[in-house]
Symmetry: D3
Subunit: 184 residues, 6 copies
């Protein structure tokens, strides 16, 4: 029922509600290797039940006002998305993340979607600090953080194991005044 344009190429952002579990599974299946290179998202969506469980968990966060998940559609296909993994409204802090299948890489889709999400967090929800946590080796995700005007706050050393190796995690953030000042 809802879609927000992401630009001239016809890409759309839509709420990713539980009934879309089949689309999400197909999206992750197509990009499993690429999506799973740096993040655990792909490992959490392995069949229809786990896909539905993940979307149900995010719908519960909408109900509790602690998170959300939205999908990016290109030419009618779900190719990735952005999500608010955690949101603490009284504290004014939220963490944003993303995923994308390889065929959709290189078009700036995640940056555009993340801009909409941060706009919503800052302007409509009063969030003061938006975080972006990313493995140090995930250069394309770090490039998104830079394009979003974020600052690197630090590096959480050896913060989680991924496929047998502990990864450093960079914490990037943008504060509401910074975000608003950078708007054209």
């Amino acid at each position: 029922m809802y879609a927000t344009s992401l630009g001239a190429d016809g890409a759309l952002l839509r709420p990713l509600e539980p009934w879309r579990a089949e689309e999400l599974l197909a999206n992750v299946d197509r990009g499993r290797e690429h999506i799973g290179e740096h993040i655990g998202f792909a490992d959490a969506v392995t069949d229809l039940a786990s896909s539905r469980a993940l979307l149900h968990a995010y719908a519960e966060r909408v109900a509790a006002d602690t998170g959300r998940i939205d999908g990016i559609w290109l030419d009618g296909t779900l190719v990735g998305g952005v999500l608010v993994r955690t949101m603490d409204v009284p504290r004014g802090v939220a963490e944003v993340g993303c995923w994308l299948e390889p065929s959709a890489v290189g078009k700036g889709l995640v940056t555009r979607a993340a801009r909409l999400m941060i706009d919503w967090l800052v302007a409509e929800r009063g969030i003061h600090r938006v975080e972006w946590c990313v493995a140090s080796e995930n250069t394309s995700s770090i490039a998104v953080a830079r394009r979003l005007g974020m600052t690197k706050d630090g590096v959480l050393r050896e913060s989680y194991p991924h496929r047998g190796v502990r990864k450093d995690v960079e914490v990037w953030s943008v504060l509401a005044p910074e975000w608003l000042a950078a708007k054209p």
Copy 2:
């Protein structure tokens, strides 16, 4: 983050998520007498806590895939909405309802919003039968059912008490093939 145009007058349909509880309360407060004339909705939203509880309950239905609620905005103000009170996807049946504050009456807003909702139910969710239940005396709501091309299936006699009197309830419905055939 999302809004769907309802027409040339700039009216918008948006998801009515729990964080909008203050807007819903203000909307119901402005239209309490009119909204409560035939339906119990107004009595369920009397303060911020009950407004939040109602929106939380609908967010839980989104998570369970059994209902939803969307608001109508006119000139930046929430003036009413449409909702899927119940939805049984395996059975293919859903019941749609609405509310509107008096200042927004007479513009066809509910009919326009209900059309979008039924489109979504039929085309995206595979619902076969969409119901519209309405007190026999609620002539304006019955007029909406007619405009939506619905058929009266029957009258549930003395079906609920409202302000001291038991009301007859008319059940109107449209089936998916009827809905699709009537599209221009």
Copy 3:
């Protein structure tokens, strides 16, 4: 501990509590084809676990005061029953249903049991409107509704799928004043 006589043939009505799950399963197993011809009840009781789950769900409705289930015994065997599928005491509405295995058909057992159930709903619980929802093709169940003095309120067109075909559902009802006036 409890049994109410249904008449001179020694038939009895008893609460159908969770510990009777084996009896219910045997009853449904004997009548699976007949019971399942028009209603989904048979499909919900396929083994001991599902039988127990159904009776547990009804016991929870007794606890919440929103429903109940009672069995009909003939010659010491559970042959069917009546149930209050939904009951909304503040609103004054309840829906009654039934099932019966074929060997017990034709003796008026369901009509007798339903009379006791409606007496309880109207006289002891203050229910104003008792509904009986039945597939249009289920002539024997419609005959029960007539014998109970009910009125047909309407036909919910193509209301649920059963074995591949969508069924029309007739809504019959009797109001408390009608019920009391018809008592001998």
Copy 4:
């Protein structure tokens, strides 16, 4: 809907379901001092909410098959009852208790009701050991245990505080073979 005769005086035993909370409160209110002399039951039923909560808790035990509560009616008034406080079917053990308002004392009502309850536990539910726990000073309740053919298994010294003094609790029991052998 159900009632079992307790004898020629017209006393009846009925399931004490949650919707009877007002009757239970009235019963306890009339007998508060007497009922509360030795047991905590009266202190648990002090207003409509607590009465409903107690009956709801017992309805949940019916659903879980771990207990039940039944009321004694005399001349149309609820005057007391018997209950299965705990029931462990796999282990074959249950504890039975009772309460009675003073106007109904001396008629053997509790003994008659407890007999029906123990019959149900032993004959229908396969319970092997039925317990009756009673304060050593509660001579009338101990007399019931004797009339039921129970044996005193021991005295749990200073087992619970009641109105400032710790009470000894006698444990009486009857085993299934004893119960069946004593039947006329």
Copy 5:
């Protein structure tokens, strides 16, 4: 992080928290036949999942302040333990139990651990009556009750089935004044 000495042989008592499920399973596996001779504890711990479930259930009792479980370590190996199966602080009653694998029998470990547990119940938690329930045939456990200065309150006849035979259960107890008077 915590350990209390049980004496000169280096035996230790430690909280048995859920993360120790593997140690508990190994302990029960080594002593399965002996531990299971009189009590059901061994039958409740048959694999890692059931071991974790048992420890989780006791951790929930700590949270609810209704019980606890502590392990006995000898030479670095978990060999048994003591537990507060039930604890009703407002009522002032608790039941203590134990288990031990055969290699650790005969050293007085359970008696020493139970002394610490009863000290805690009486001195720190204000428990008035500490119970010890034991099968009549379990002579070694009855010897512990005697060594703890307990009194036999009675015998619950044929109280539970164990491997095909119903067992008598002796109830032993010590009251707080008795316990404190017996301290050296």
Copy 6:
């Protein structure tokens, strides 16, 4: 039942279980201004109910194996404590925190207690990365992080509001190999 020595001054570390809610409230009441200068802990413990709720929440984390809380006693009085606010065993990360009333400041109690906690996390639970999050202005807590041999990973800018001002939060950490190498 359990206590671990923190050194020659007789200070003790003990599990802070829910039944100690009164002691915790007294501790926080004595140090409310000092404890609340930089952290929200003091604001979460304002009466007996909130004190019990906080300890109950931590006991649930023990049950779920996701955290714990332990108190520091000096001369028989609870003066502060250390806690594992979050613990993700599969991921190998935990966050440790502390609080202390002013009379106990300057004795190194928190450093000593945190050492025991980190030893447990690293040696017994296999945690790889232990975090210490602290407001940039909280110099005494930062001094503890230094004494524990931790490294500053970064500064989360304006990370939470405290008494009207958004505070920067420093993230300090020590990795398991670092911790083990630094042991004498």
